[in-house]
Amino acid sequence: MPWLVGLAAVALIGAVFLYDDALVPTPQMAENPVIFPDGTALNVQKYEVTVAEWNVCHAAGACTLNLRVAKNRTESKMPATGLSYLDVSQYLAWINKATDQNFRLPTVQEWKFMAAEVLPDTPDPIFTDPQLSWASSYLLEPQTKRTLMPQGTFATTSQGIVDLNGSVWEWTKDCYSGASKRTVNNCPAYFVGGEHIAAVPYLVRDPARGGCAVGVPPAHLGMRLVHVKPSH
């Protein structure tokens, strides 16, 4: 666990942390915090975590995956994707140790609220019969945003948060444990935020299309950090 040994070496130098002799990029947060109806504020990472940021974690030995981008792409401009909930958890543990901050994933409610202004309206369910609730969320709307694109391709919210409506679905911290919504320690699936909200098993890195699953699964799985705005 290198970060425990190296923690003392972490020092703030300008916009980066020096950690274990590696430069840890400080997550760039959106210009303005998201203010919720109850008055609480949340700082939200401006872009999704990039491949370049992710690979610092990998280089530190804290993230298993070593990500790469296609030949014509730049690591610092491409969102890190192909991430399971387990992968995302590794990054969170590392970035918090490395920066001595309290980043976390958003909740579903937080994600929906911050993204509402750039998301399309939720389509009407295609079936209303309660017996067909299992099929009612099937999407017959055209899906136009499945190709992985560089950051900044999609919309920006009034707080300055970019790409919430893009082709990357972002893990939230909220567990989906089934229709009974009971609390479990061994959470089998988490919600992800994107063009629609979906529940994805924690092991999945690539939610492949097709097969038995009803509906159109997310195209790519990535992450975006948030932290509670420090009170002044």
Partner: protein, 403 residues
């Protein structure tokens, strides 16, 4: 109707070179791969020394007796893009027909999976993968005009499994860019049959795995029947072509892109040799028959699902439904009944009939579920109607149980 999407129209020297390679020639006739080993970078820039003689001079002097076309009525069939079927009669009226159809061999750049950006210079009949469904009755003749657009890079032809002789017509239909040919053949066998491009040698699987295949349905003149001879009719046809693609990747594992149709030849053959497709998709691309493009039906409606696979075995399954009647081979044998999963021998088209009894969403898959979910072989039916609790009911919704 023709969509000239091929940027290869511009570089004439390149086209000339390919045209010249016809000299290598007759290649197509002898089965040798005409362009084997040729890579884009290695293409010489010199113009060919000579061209093959005119098609007219190639015309074989007819010695066989002319066809007896008496009693036939000429009709035109307007072909439509999959998953749809052309207008047709299920039970033939009147005498036998000569059905005139036209197909263009269009080479077009198609996205196979928009998630990864994987794409292919597909070889198509009329611009779609699979090529259009052709429907006739036993005893009819199909008269095909096959046209290769002038901006094409490659030669194309067609082998109809439903036909008899000359390599299924493949030996009589080689058309080079800017050429057309007309082939007439008689549908003597009733059933669903594959057709595909077969220019010769390694070019055959190269063209077939680039989308150049489709199906003909030859109906019995008095329509489909069960084993007892009772008439079976359908309300709609869902025409599904399953396509295995073998897309080359670069050293990073990313799918390669190519400037012109044909440029991927050497890389493709290497990839095909693995016999492991990178994609197996319905109607040309991942998700082509899902979401907004999902197939539609209503409870009580009968759909005839025609599944074509010109290259490789597959096993369609309708999740939540069945194949009430399945003709795996021809319409001459009685159909299998109440089938859970049916078998499509590579190089075959199969018809399966089902009447929907419940509303909802059905997944129609290749029941090698790895291929269905990871390679793309899945379609969806969205079916409207009233739920029948007698057939199925959720007695207890998922709930926590006491531990």
């Amino acid at each position: 109707m023709t969509k000239f999407m091929n940027p290869g129209l511009m570089p004439t020297s390149r086209r000339n070179v390919l045209r010249g390679s016809v000299l290598a020639g007759a290649a197509a006739m002898t089965g040798a791969p005409a362009f084997a080993g040729q890579r884009h970078a290695a293409v010489p820039k010199t113009a060919p020394m000579a061209y093959f003689s005119d098609a007219a001079e190639q015309q074989v002097k007819a010695e066989a007796a002319p066809a007896d076309l008496s009693g036939y009525t000429r009709v035109k069939q307007e072909l439509v893009a999959p998953p749809f079927a052309p207008a047709h009669e299920q039970v033939a009226t009147g005498g036998p027909k000569i059905i005139e159809i036209t197909m263009e061999t269009e080479e077009r750049l198609m996205v196979v999976d928009e998630d990864t950006g994987a794409s292919i210079w597909a070889f198509t009949y009329n611009g779609s993968v699979p090529g259009p469904l052709i429907i006739c009755h036993q005893g009819d003749m199909i008269e095909l005009t096959l046209r290769n657009p002038v901006d094409s890079q490659l030669e194309h032809n067609i082998d109809f499994h439903a036909s008899t002789g000359a390599l299924g017509g493949g030996g009589l239909t080689h058309v080079y860019p800017g050429e057309e040919t007309v082939l007439r053949w008689k549908a003597t066998k009733a059933g669903c049959f594959t057709y595909h491009c077969a220019p010769g040698g390694a070019m055959i699987p190269y063209h077939v795995t680039h989308g150049m295949n489709g199906a003909v349905m030859v109906l019995p003149r008095d329509g489909l029947k069960d084993a007892e001879g009772n008439a079976l009719t359908y309300d709609s046809i869902a025409y599904i072509g399953e396509q295995d693609y073998y897309l080359p990747k670069d050293e990073n594992g990313d799918y390669r892109t190519y400037e012109y149709a044909g440029d991927d030849y050497g890389d493709s053959l290497d990839e095909m040799r693995t016999l492991t497709p990178t994609h197996s998709v319905f109607n040309g691309a991942v998700g082509a028959l899902t979401g907004e493009a999902a197939l539609r039906a209503k409870v009580g409606e009968t759909v005839l699902m025609i599944h074509n696979q010109a290259n490789r075995d597959t096993r369609p399954h309708l999740i939540g439904g069945h194949g009430n009647y399945v003709w795996e081979t021809s319409f001459s044998s009685p159909p299998l009944t109440d089938v859970e999963t049916w078998f499509v021998r590579g190089g075959t088209a199969v018809a399966a009939m089902y009447t929907f009894e419940q509303p909802g969403v059905y997944a129609y898959v290749n029941h090698n579920l790895i291929e269905a979910t990871l390679l793309g072989a899945a379609a969806h039916f969205v079916v409207e109607g009233e739920w029948d609790n007698n057939l199925m009911e959720q007695v207890v919704a998922p709930r926590a149980f006491a531990t």
